[in-house]
Amino acid sequence: MDYYFFVMTVICIWIMVSLATNMVIGYAGLFSMGHVTYMAVGAYTSAVLNILYGVNYMVTIPIAILATAVFAFLTYLPLMRLAAFPFGLATLGMNVVIVDLIHIAAPRVPGSEGLFGMKTPEFMASGPWRFVFVAVLTVLCVALVRHVLNSPFGRTLRAIRDKPEAAEAAGKDPRWYRTVIWTLSGAVAGLAGALYATTLFYIDPTVFVVAFSFNVLVYIGVGGLASILGSVLGPLLLITFSESLRFAGLPSDISGPVQQIVYGALLIVLMMFRRRGLVGNYEFKD
């Protein structure tokens, strides 16, 4: 059964990252193509503290969240000045650079390319309990984000996304709202990263490459922009789909490409016929 618990845990983690990405793309209209960057920062913060400095895993989680939030805030400051499309490309560049910087400079366990050997509390040793822990945090995250987005803050954010001039005329500073949501989004991705590090046992730069940021775009594109439900449905349906391919009995040399072909085709079909995804409330303008 541990296989199923592992897959469910992974789904929960990608739900968090999708949620974090949807917060900025869907609700704030900030087109991020490199959100896995923040996941990497959270994962490495937690793993380095735990493995190399012996900090209790439970303590590393809030530190990872905080560190990632600060990092997200600092990276947003220069990004803020860019128009939508260059913004997307710059975040993509950020993802590439962070992966290489980790490869060059991050601490690693000798003889490997990353970090492993995290010490987690007793109860997290079993697959089912690790899943329960991650699932509870995912639900908490979803509830918190939902609360924020349904609050007056969230409404203003959407107003800024749709009519920035009008919002500005009403005395709302778009920069402040966007910076807050970006920082918060970074914090959620950082939490996901800290959880990912223990779920996998092992992290290295290959875990955070741009391809995974693109996967997240597919998840929320399919699920739907500016929708909490969409952020949950996307990873749930697509990861279940790609894992179920393992059971389809396809020959080994087609089963892999099939998944990628389906992802690509989904993107095309969505852009052609349903740009807001399954349950989305927003369509990205140019």
């Binding site: 592992f6 992974v10 490997s112 990353g114 092992y202 290959t206 875990v207 894992e243 490409p257």
Partner: protein
């Protein structure tokens, strides 16, 4: 609202579909085939490299089944895609062990294997891989490595360089954990040969090495050493070295003569290269037989990667024949493995850290043919 009920309905339908997709759990049947789990990248940048090696495994399975299988049962490979990522590796390992109930696993690539190590111990499932990263197999009691440690190859090269009177050696290696380890061994090997040392680390998976090869040109070495993991990238390094006018003899830490993608990228520059490592030995009857049959099936010579993969399947088959499908019993059998016949000819045994020790030789490419040479032979 209508849309929410629609969502609910589609979610229910999805749940049902997912439930239907789940296979019925079953203990591995006492009849029917014995399954070996193969967690390899079937997609991604290294899929092509992996696919080549799988040919060796498939031949071993065909041979064993033709002789009546293991304990009267056929063996079967269950492939799972790791996508070359740790996440894919863990999911694939769990899937083959829990759903397919495989008693043993074959895996590949340092980052994937590192992520799988704790699972091997936790589930008591032996896992053999061909990774050369130092001491990786030492980290888990159920992990084995069937590969040649590059330090041994370099040691042999060192004697050779010394007798050739080499003064300056430039070394290329991948910029990963393997490269980091090899850097120390290479420095020692070159130092022991009394030569001056310099190195550069190249990134795997890129076609362009024209910047980095200029480093070797600047150093103006008598020989170039390349520490390789058998990918086609080293081939491009060789080609681009030659095409900026570096003509020093090239020594490479594995016998890649029959690795197809590598040969394709090196082209005619393979002439004159010296290689060190294990290889299919056609002067040995067993190696000759393996080579002839592989050639009949695929139209080309087998390489050492295919040979070692063949051996891995054979090791598992021998273990299960002797002690059954219990993971711990198989592990104990493999730990004590001695004098096991290799498909490539010769014999090998299990060394410290559950890492095999196999025969290696020096080879020279001359007139488009591979010939065995002795250390010091010009």
């Amino acid at each position: 609202m209508d849309s929410t009920s629609k969502i609910r309905r589609s979610l229910c339908a999805f749940g049902l579909a997912a439930a239907a997709a789940l296979p019925v759990f079953s203990v591995q049947a006492q009849s029917g085939p014995i399954k070996f789990g193969v967690t390899y990248p079937l997609t991604g940048a290294f899929a092509g490299f992996a696919k080549e090696q799988i040919l060796g495994m498939e031949m071993a399975v065909a041979d064993i089944n033709a002789k009546g299988g293991v304990k009267g049962r056929q063996i079967q490979l269950v492939y799972e895609d790791t996508r070359g990522t740790p996440e894919g590796g863990v999911a694939a390992f769990r899937k083959v062990t829990e759903i397919d109930k495989v008693p043993v696993v074959l895996s590949i690539f340092t980052n994937v294997v590192t992520a799988q190590l704790p699972l091997a111990d936790q589930l008591k499932i032996p896992m053999i891989s061909g990774v050369e990263a130092p001491g990786l197999s030492a980290r888990a009691q159920y992990a084995f490595a069937h590969s040649n440690r590059s330090a041994r190859a370099l040691n042999m090269l060192s004697q050779h360089l010394k007798s050739l009177g080499v003064k300056k050696a430039f070394t290329f290696m991948p910029d990963n954990a393997f490269g980091e380890d090899i850097s120390k061994s290479a420095q020692e090997a070159v130092g022991a040969a009394g030569a001056q040392y310099a190195e550069a680390r190249f990134r795997l998976g890129q076609p362009e090495y024209r910047g980095i090869v200029a480093r070797a040109k600047e150093f103006n070495p008598d020989v170039i050493l390349i520490a390789t993991q058998g990918t086609a990238d080293d081939g491009n390094v060789v080609k681009q070295l030659r095409e900026i006018g570096v003509n020093a003899p090239i020594f490479i830490s594995a016998n890649l003569f029959d690795v197809k993608a590598w040969r394709d990228s090196v082209g005619t520059y393979v002439e004159g290269m010296t290689m060190v490592g294990p290889n299919v030995d056609v002067t040995d009857p067993k190696g000759k037989d393996f080579s002839t049959r592989f050639k009949a099936k695929h139209g080309r010579n087998p390489n050492y990667l295919q040979g070692t993969l063949y051996d891995m399947v054979a090791m598992y088959a021998a273990a299960i024949e002797k002690v059954g499908t219990d993971g711990t019993a198989i592990r104990d059998y493999l730990v004590g493995l001695k004098d096991f016949p290799s498909a490539m000819g010769g014999r090998f045994g299990m060394g410290p850290d559950r890492q095999t020790v196999m025969a290696i030789n020096l080879w020279r490419v001359k007139g488009g043919e591979l010939m065995k040479i002795l250390p010091g032979q010009k």
